[in-house]
């Protein structure tokens, strides 16, 4: 009986992540596909910061659009570099604070609001109102993660979580864009910031090697710039002008048939 009970306890211990470290989602080498989650509604979870015990995420996104990301403070890998890169890109993109805010949540149940506050301090963002560092309940984190395809996996061999780096642009509670990757390119963030400001790009070119495009989208100004293909478009009119110059030139006019 005691051995049976012990076996059950051991099985339970082995099946439960050690020290209560949950994993969630399906671990993958590929980042979540933005297209699968665009316009999906996010759950309106409760977040805790050092300033507030229970603020709803919706109060944040109703005020301004939000860039949302999930990290954990004990991260020895990508989280801090990712946040630093995000900080740089946001400074480049302009509009942070005015057009949108950044919400950084921890998915690690061991992180507290104070831990997140210390993280903010280490990044020099503690007193920046445009950045919100907070935590949420494990249940809420799982709901949020499921809504955007985010996963996290506890690897006991290294004592770390494996997870993607994901930045989710949220407008009125819906996913607008998702950027994946350890580094946040300034150009990508500028494009996302444009969309958060309400700019709508009615078409975009798929990546690929194409000769002589007409237009290239400029995320800085939120509009299309002329590209090399336009030179080809100017060629017909240029040739017409040259033809006129030739036909009506004094030499041609004199040299024509009598």
């Amino acid at each position: 009986m005691r051995r049976g009970l012990g076996s059950v306890c051991l099985a339970l211990c082995l099946s439960t992540p050690f020290y209560g470290q949950p994993s969630f989602g399906i671990r993958s080498n590929e980042a979540p596909n933005e297209d699968r989650y665009v316009y999906k509604a996010l759950p309106d979870i409760v977040i805790q910061t050092v300033a507030t015990a229970d603020a709803r995420l919706s109060t944040v996104w109703r005020d301004k659009p939000v860039l949302l990301t999930m990290i954990f403070t004990r991260c020895a890998g990508v989280c801090s570099p990712f946040l630093r890169s995000l900080k740089r890109a946001a400074a480049d993109a302009e509009g942070l604070g005015r057009d949108y805010r950044i919400v950084v949540l921890s998915f690690d149940p061991q992180d507290s609001a104070a831990d997140m506050d210390r993280m903010a301090q280490s990044l020099g963002l503690k007193s920046d109102p445009a950045w919100i560092f907070g935590v949420a309940s494990p249940g809420d984190i799982r709901r949020l993660a499921a809504a955007v395809g985010f996963w996290f996996y506890w690897d006991p061999s290294v004592g770390q979580y494996d997870h993607p780096s994901l930045l989710i642009a949220v407008d009125r509670g819906r996913v607008l864009r998702m950027l994946a990757g350890a580094e946040v390119p300034s150009a990508s963030l500028r494009e996302v910031a444009q969309e958060l400001r309400g700019k709508f790009v009615s078409s975009y070119a798929l990546a690929g090697k194409v000769a002589f495009r007409c237009f290239e989208y400029d995320p800085d100004r939120g509009r299309y710039n002329l590209d090399w293909g336009v030179l080809l478009m100017l060629l017909p009119a240029t040739c017409a002008l040259l033809s006129v110059a030739w036909a009506f030139s004094p030499i041609s006019r004199r040299a024509g048939p009598p």
Binding site: S203, C214, L235, S243
Partner: protein, 487 residues
Amino acid sequence: MASVANGLYGESEIRKFRRMTVIWGATVLLLLPILALLGYFMRWVQAGAFTQLRPEWFYAVLTLHSLGMVGTWFVGSMAGVSYLLLRYTRPSLAVSRLSYWGTLVGVLLLIVCTLGGLFGTGWYFLYPLPLMSQHVWQPWATFTFFLALAILGVCWTIWTLDILRAIARHYSLSAALGWNYILGREGPEVPPLVLITTVSLIVGVAGFVAAVLVIALFAARALGVNVDPLLMKNLTFFFGHVLVNITMYLGVATVYELLPSYAGRPWKINRVVALAWGAVLFLILFAYFHHLYMDFAQPAWIQKFGQICSYGLAVPAGVVSIFGTLALVYAARMRWTLASTLLFLGIMGWGVGGIAAVIDSTVEVNFHFHNTLWVPAHFHTYYLMGVVLIILGLIDHVGKEISGLEERAARSKLTVALLLIGGYGFLSMFYWAGAHSVPRRYAIYPLEVSQGTLYARIAVGFITVLLLGILLYLWETGKRCLKALAA
């Protein structure tokens, strides 16, 4: 002729030029019924006849009919203008002959690749469709098609440049573009024919260069270079839009030149006319954007600019020329012959088609009309009831002038009645179908747009009437042309 008196051409050279013009006219008259019958066939297919026919045939015939008609009326306009310009300058007979033989070769190659090779991309051969046929047409048919375009393009470009050169021999650029009138300066009197032809052909050169670029980029794609489809669309529609518009403008130029002699009143350039056609020179370069409204990849500001230019184009070309025609004819001691009637009605048809075109060039409307039958409705109107009537009038005028054969008034009236009833009746079915969301270029109408079959059946009836009118015209005018050839 004036050119003899002016010492521009000798008597025998005039005769040769006239003969070449009659040959052009006769060729146009030969191509007209053939190409019209192809169109008739297409409407029959859409009416539900020939149910066993493979749809590839419909698309091949569509390609030949559309390209054939665009080309035929272009050369008809060019030949007509070239002949009328003899009054003022000396276009080259050799170049006209070269263009003629080049056109024949090009047409033959088009027939081979479409009816022989089932090449079926429609007239605007939108990239990359010619290269992706799903094995319906073979690469040789695609090659033959582009060879035909290249031959036609080269010959027609040379012809265009020659006429510009001929005009430049006797008119400076500022005179030919009517700038003296705009600036109120003294200068030689410039006939409207010269002004409109100069404007049209300057733009025409641009159109042909665009076609060359399209062919070159297709070749690049065949060699493995990925070309931007949006760029190709822009170039293709620029070329097509220009070619069709200058055909109409050259036709309008012949009306400016010929109608005054029937009305017994002059039609001269003044500041307004010169300004109008100067505006055309600019606006026509950008109006083609209205073909790409449904390409959201084109920036919105370009789409809106396209609408502004399309609307703007209606004012100079349309209002000035239409008002001019009405003012010329109003209460005039008008000689109503078959030729003058067709010239007059051709301007009307051009106006009607233009109204439908301006409506469709509104982005909001185009969102519901793009690639429905409204599109062939408007371009068949300003082509069939516009420039075709004008050129038929011109050919009849030249045929009468050379042959001396008079017309029979009753037959002329019957011809006009059949052309109008048949033509506008056929077109009304296009308009009605377009307004009811029936797509263009469908071999068979699916259930959602099954009403298209009924409209096609009604159209077939009207086309029969139209064809009778064409046949009667060919009979009467054909006799004059044959006599003129023999003269």
